[in-house]
Symmetry: C2
Subunit: 444 residues, 2 copies
């Protein structure tokens, strides 16, 4: 593979570092780093040629291009050698029209980008394949990296543990004790990661992992590592490609650590710079009201930020009060005429139940995004004929408390829930047939 990239300060300092080193922050101002690409070199291919190439890769039988991330490797992380790439076939996930739900919500041109069908069940895989591949290459070329470590409320831990297991690199994951579901814990444990539950919250875990990885012998796999962002950026390219290279009016995504907002924005800006698109979408960052550190920032035009202590929420993956990518995200929200919308527990539970009833099982985080969409639509920020893409960041089914709880009427939603109960019957054909006919009569 060819092409070049390097690290630069995300705040715009002069600092640069080669991609071959272990480095996470600017040595001048301590800001986070971004991956910079040699755009002049990339511009040697026309926009049309890039589109054709990306389409050819999607149609290719070469196994590496099963991955939507590596099918765009020149834009992502070109220095990695093919033999060092660690892929599980991430990306290339469906973008689906949600006609029935869209009509219910007053936004008929509604689409969902289902990142939950990624290999380990979440959006995180898009970035983790890049980070683990880069670490694998550093280890192959003699860097003394003993393990990779990250903090997680579930999904990132599963993703890191899986990718590390593919090539046998030790993984260490730090989780806030009692905040991660059993189904989510089962993944990193089974993949053989060192799983450490700490007596603190997510933000507390973030501090500790930064200390543990400070000397470089354990490589930091958190989203403050910009390699994660570079992989996640492909979600923007992929969804525009799936819309025949037309840009939607709005993208709505649920966010916690805000890395996905930064990634989405970077993807669109790169497409614009290289001429593949000629306008940008608006971005709505959907947050849970118990975990909204952007509230003050948003009211001040993204100039005044202050971390908070996040409270418990059903959408446990977004319970973060001091998001590591806040500066990156604020910059993107400014550039994309962005908005921040917060939703309550009842709102997200109700809309999520509605989405499930329309055939989709991507929440609670997607519920936060859908509830935000509904609020933005109701107050006219989003118009009835605008095209909206909601990003669903993880698969449904692992946080079953919400589903089960909802159908036991445990939530105070805006409207009473259309609860559904399991019926137990004897194995008697006549009894069963009679019950089914009566139940269908009631539905009609």
């Amino acid at each position: 593979m060819n092409g070049s990239c390097w690290y630069e300060c995300s705040r715009g300092c002069e600092y640069r570092a080669p991609f071959t080193g272990v480095t996470y922050r600017c040595r001048g101002c301590d800001g986070l780093l971004d991956v910079a690409h040699d755009l002049d070199s990339l511009k040697k291919r026309t926009a049309g040629d890039w589109k054709t190439l990306f389409a050819e890769r999607a149609a290719s039988s070469e196994w590496l291009y099963t991955s939507g991330v590596w099918g765009k490797y020149e834009w992502v992380y070109p220095p990695v050698e093919k033999e060092n790439i660690v892929s599980l076939g991430e990306g290339n996930t469906p973008l689906l029209p949600l006609a029935r739900l869209g009509e219910q919500l007053g936004v008929p041109d509604l689409w969902i980008k289902q990142c939950g069908t990624n290999p380990t069940g979440s959006f995180k895989d898009l970035g983790m394949t890049v980070l683990v591949s880069a670490a694998n290459q550093m280890i192959a070329t003699g860097q003394p990296i003993r393990a990779l470590a990250c903090t997680s409320i579930g999904d990132a831990a599963s993703s890191l543990a899986a990718y590390c297991a593919v090539v046998g690199i030790p993984a260490v994951v730090f989780l806030p004790r009692g905040r991660v579901s059993a189904a989510q814990l089962a993944q990193p444990v089974a993949h053989g990661a060192l799983v450490v539950a700490l007596d603190t919250d997510f933000d507390g875990c973030m501090k500790i992992v930064q200390h543990v990885t400070a000397d470089g012998s354990i490589y930091l796999a958190d989203s403050m590592n910009s390699l994660r962002i570079e992989g996640q950026k492909t979600v923007a390219i992929e969804l525009v490609q799936q819309l025949c290279w037309s840009v939607p009016d709005w993208i709505i995504l649920p966010s916690g650590n805000l890395g996905n907002v930064a990634a989405l924005g970077r993807g669109f800006l790169m497409m614009q710079e290289l001429g593949l698109i000629d306008r940008l979408p608006r971005i709505a960052c959907a947050l849970e009201e118990n975990a909204n550190p952007l509230d003050r920032s948003c009211r001040s035009g993204f100039s005044e930020y202050e971390p908070i202590t996040a409270q418990e929420t059903l959408a446990s993956a977004v319970q973060i009060g001091n998001p590591v990518s806040v500066e990156r995200a604020e910059k993107i929200l400014c550039a994309f005429d962005g908005v921040v919308e917060q939703v309550g527990e009842g709102e997200l539970a109700h809309v999520a139940a509605q989405a499930y009833g329309a055939g989709f099982r991507y929440y609670p985080q997607a519920g936060v995004a859908l509830a935000a969409l509904l609020k933005l639509r109701l107050r006219g920020e989003i118009g009835p004929s605008e095209r909206v893409v909601v990003i669903s960041t993880e698969q449904g089914g692992r946080r079953t408390g919400l589903t089960a709880g909802y159908h036991e009427q445990a939530f105070d939603g805006a409207q009473p829930p259309p609860a559904n109960k399991i019926v137990r019957l004897p194995a008697d054909t006549d009894v069963v047939a009679e019950w089914v006919v009566q139940a269908l009569d009631q539905l009609e």
Copy 2:
């Protein structure tokens, strides 16, 4: 959409029925039906042209071709009108090389077809999209169908409920009480299906659903309905396409009701008939020893079959003693020089743990297939340089009992399990850093 197909008796009777009617069995001999295609019409396109067309569809931005099933609609169910298709973007799932696990098992050229990344988390989606689309079209053209019904140990119920919810058709699912995990129950409940738990096993549920659907007002969505098989058949085409149209030496798949064996075989036979491939793979049907109704059949060269009463197994999705597609599957196993391999609980738990340790989370059913692979390799049936594709039929993580149990050492495996424990530490950076270094020292 154009092209034609009809129903014919799977046992070879003269019986034919039009695709527009509600029909499941031959009126002559009561055998199951197959979907027959107008092969002469399909042969008007050359094999090379089909390959090009399928590649173009994979690269297309048209949303319908997000679906690997509908990207091959001429081969699957051509009479359905596009506006009646109910798709969630099923198929086009990754086929990945398993180098590290393959070397551990003595089969370096090992691949996994990960059907667990389908929209509702299982292989069943490939067939359900076809069946629900066909039913949707029948309803649109005035057939008096009130609901769709199926029996399930989990995956089929989730799939039917989701596809029905997309278009608002009522779904009724019958489950054997106490055999389905909470995470699996949550899906059909949340999708608004009528969920009926019956005091019997899977085979008992199958009998009842056939009675309930007998008059045609409730359409049968079980795998005895050949529309399911037609959609599932695309897994064969897709995996060969992903291998650049080269046929692997072996395909190993876990089976319960045996519809997937029939579907896989039909896909290969159709590719051979239309000239896309020139040989067939061998097929190994992997069964759990507590649920192996094919044992006697296999010993007799697939001539003597007798149903059994299946016992409890970790791989609950295959706990079926009287598989509905047994005749179809026996025919395929004869044609593909097939074998049946049964594995025990300890064997499947151990190999599944090994697979998890290599980064894959697709079991317990995939564990049955991998354990069968290991046995076939050890006794020399599969050679060390043969190319083997294992079909993983569902996502991991919903049946967490196995993972958690294994790492609590609850199983008697052939070898003691490499159990992994979660460690709880205080939020103290020095304590954490010291623990991590010691743990990594022990790993080395």
